[in-house]
C-alpha cells in the first residue's frame, strides 16, 4: 500500500497501524491500566504484567483449561483472549474468589474432598466450577441434559452433568472423582 494513503487512512484510527495499546482491565475488583503489545493474551497480562500467577499456562491452545478465569461473569480460556480485545472487561481469577480470609465455597470443597494431587490444574478447575455453577443456575443446558427443558428452571447438577460441564478442564493426575464430589457438595 502507498505509504501516504496509509498515513491518511490511519489518522483517526491509530490502532490500525500501531502494535501496542493502553488496556484497562478490572482484575478482581481493582482497575488496572497497562500498555500492552496487541499479541498479549489475558493470561500473559495476568501472569507476566500483573504478577497474578494463579491462572496457569498449560497447553496455551485452549485445550486444557488450566488458564480458566471468569470474564464478565462467564468462564473462559484466558490463553485465547487478547487483552486488547478485552479493554474494560471485569476479570476474576482464582486470587479473587475468597472473601478476605474466607475461602469461596468451591475452594473449601476442593480442600475438604482433597480434589487435587499436583495442583497445577486446580485454579482453572475451581474457576471453571464457579462459572459452571452460575451457568447451571441460569438454566444453561449441557450435552447430557435430558430433553424437554427450555431453560426456565436451573439445571440439576448430577455427577454426569458435572463431568460433562467440566470436560474443558483436564487433570493429568486424574483427580476427577474427587473434583466431581467437591462440586456435588457445593451444588447440593
Amino acid at each position: 500500500m502507498d505509504p501516504t494513503s496509509e498515513r491518511e487512512n490511519s489518522s483517526g484510527q491509530l490502532g490500525e497501524t500501531r502494535h501496542r495499546s493502553a488496556v484497562a482491565l478490572h482484575i478482581n475488583g481493582t482497575p488496572r491500566t497497562l500498555t500492552l503489545d496487541h499479541r498479549t493474551t489475558v493470561l500473559d497480562a495476568l501472569r507476566e504484567h500483573l504478577g497474578l500467577t494463579g491462572a496457569k499456562k498449560g497447553c496455551d491452545h485452549g485445550q486444557c483449561g488450566a488458564c480458566t478465569v471468569i470474564v464478565d461473569g462467564r468462564r473462559a480460556n484466558s490463553c485465547l483472549l487478547l487483552a486488547v480485545a478485552h479493554d474494560g472487561a471485569r476479570i476474576t481469577t482464582v486470587e479473587g474468589l475468597a472473601d478476605g480470609d474466607r475461602l469461596h465455597p468451591v475452594q473449601e470443597a476442593f480442600l475438604a474432598r482433597d480434589a487435587l494431587q499436583c495442583g497445577y490444574c486446580t485454579p482453572g478447575q475451581i474457576c471453571s466450577a464457579v462459572g459452571m455453577l452460575g451457568e447451571a443456575a441460569d438454566g444453561f443446558p449441557s450435552h447430557v441434559t435430558e430433553d424437554g427443558g427450555d431453560g426456565s428452571a436451573p439445571a440439576r447438577l448430577t455427577a454426569p452433568e458435572i463431568r460433562e460441564r467440566m470436560s474443558g478442564n483436564l487433570c493429568r493426575c486424574g483427580a476427577y472423582p474427587r473434583i466431581v464430589e467437591a462440586i456435588e457438595d457445593v451444588a447440593s
Binding site: T17, H19, H38, H61, A76, N77, L80, V84, M166
Partner: protein, 328 residues
Amino acid sequence: MKPFGYLRARTTDEAVSAMTRHPGAVFLGGGTNLIDLMKLGVATPDLLVDVRGLPLDQVADTSDGGLRIGATVRNSDLAAHHAVRTRYPALSQALLSGASGQLRNTATTGGNLLQRTRCPYFQDISKPCNKRVPGIGCPAREGTHRDLAVIGHSEACVATHPSDMAVALAALDATVQLYGPDGERSVPVTDFHRLPGDTPDRDTVIRPGELITEVLLPPRPEGAVSVYRKARDRASYAFALASVAAVVTARDGRIEHAALAFGGLAHRPWRARAAEEILRGAATTDDTFTRAVDAELAAARPLRDNAFKVELARSLAVDALAALTTRN
C-alpha cells in the same frame, strides 16, 4: 506471532471499510480458533478488526416464525436460547456437543461457521498443506488421516470442516446473511462451505471484505422434529469422527419431509440429498432408513485408515431417523 494492528469496529460499515483498506486484515470474533492459528503461525494477519462490539448479538423471532441469529451471539447463549431449545433442538444439541463450556462462552455464531479445519498438517507450518499454500502438496492422503474426509474430497485436500453447529444449520435450511463492499447478500448454509477441488485454500464462498452479519432459520415445518447425534473418540470435548443432524416430519407411518446432514465426513457439512429423496413419502421403517443412508454413502471414498467413519455415519443416521419417527 507476527505483530498486528487492532481496530474495534463500531458499525458494520466501519468493519467492512477497514477490510477493504487492509488486504491483510481479518475479522476477530471470539478468537477461539483464530488466535490459536496465529500462535501456530498459520494465520498471520496485519490487522484484527474486532466485530464483537457490533449490534449483532441478538436472537430474535422473524415475522414468518423463523429465527434471526446475530453473528456475534455466543455459542453457549444460542444453545441455551428458549426458541432454539424448543423449536430447533438439533441446533442446541449440536452446539452443546462441541468444544467445552469455556470455549462455547467465547465462540460466536459467525466465527463457528468460519473456523478452519483441525487437520494436523494444516495446523503445522513445518509440513506442506495445499490449504495453507496451494500447490505445495498434501501429506495427509498417505499420512495421518484417520479423522479426515471420506466423501467429497479431492487430490489436493482431504480436510474436514470441524463445526457441529454448521451441520445442524445445514439440515435446518438456514441462510447466512453477508454484508460486504458490494452490499448485502444471502447464501444458504449448504452452499456457504465449499468442496476443496483444486482450491482448498478457500473454505467458503465468502468474498474479500465480507462480514457474516446473521444466520436466518426458516420457520419449523409443522410437526417437524429434529436431533443431532455425534460419535467421537471421547465422551466429551472432541471433534466429530462422524455426526448427523436430522429433521423429519412423519404422519401415519410415512415420512412427509426429511432433511439429513452429516458432519465430520467432508470439507463441508454434507447435506444428504440422495437419502432425502428416498425418505420422502416412504414408510418409517429401518429398511427405508438403511436404504436411504446407504444410497447417500455409496459416494464415499474412504482413505486407507478411515473407512470406519462411513459405518459410524451410517449407524448414527439410521438410529437418528428411527429415534425421530418412533417418537411421533
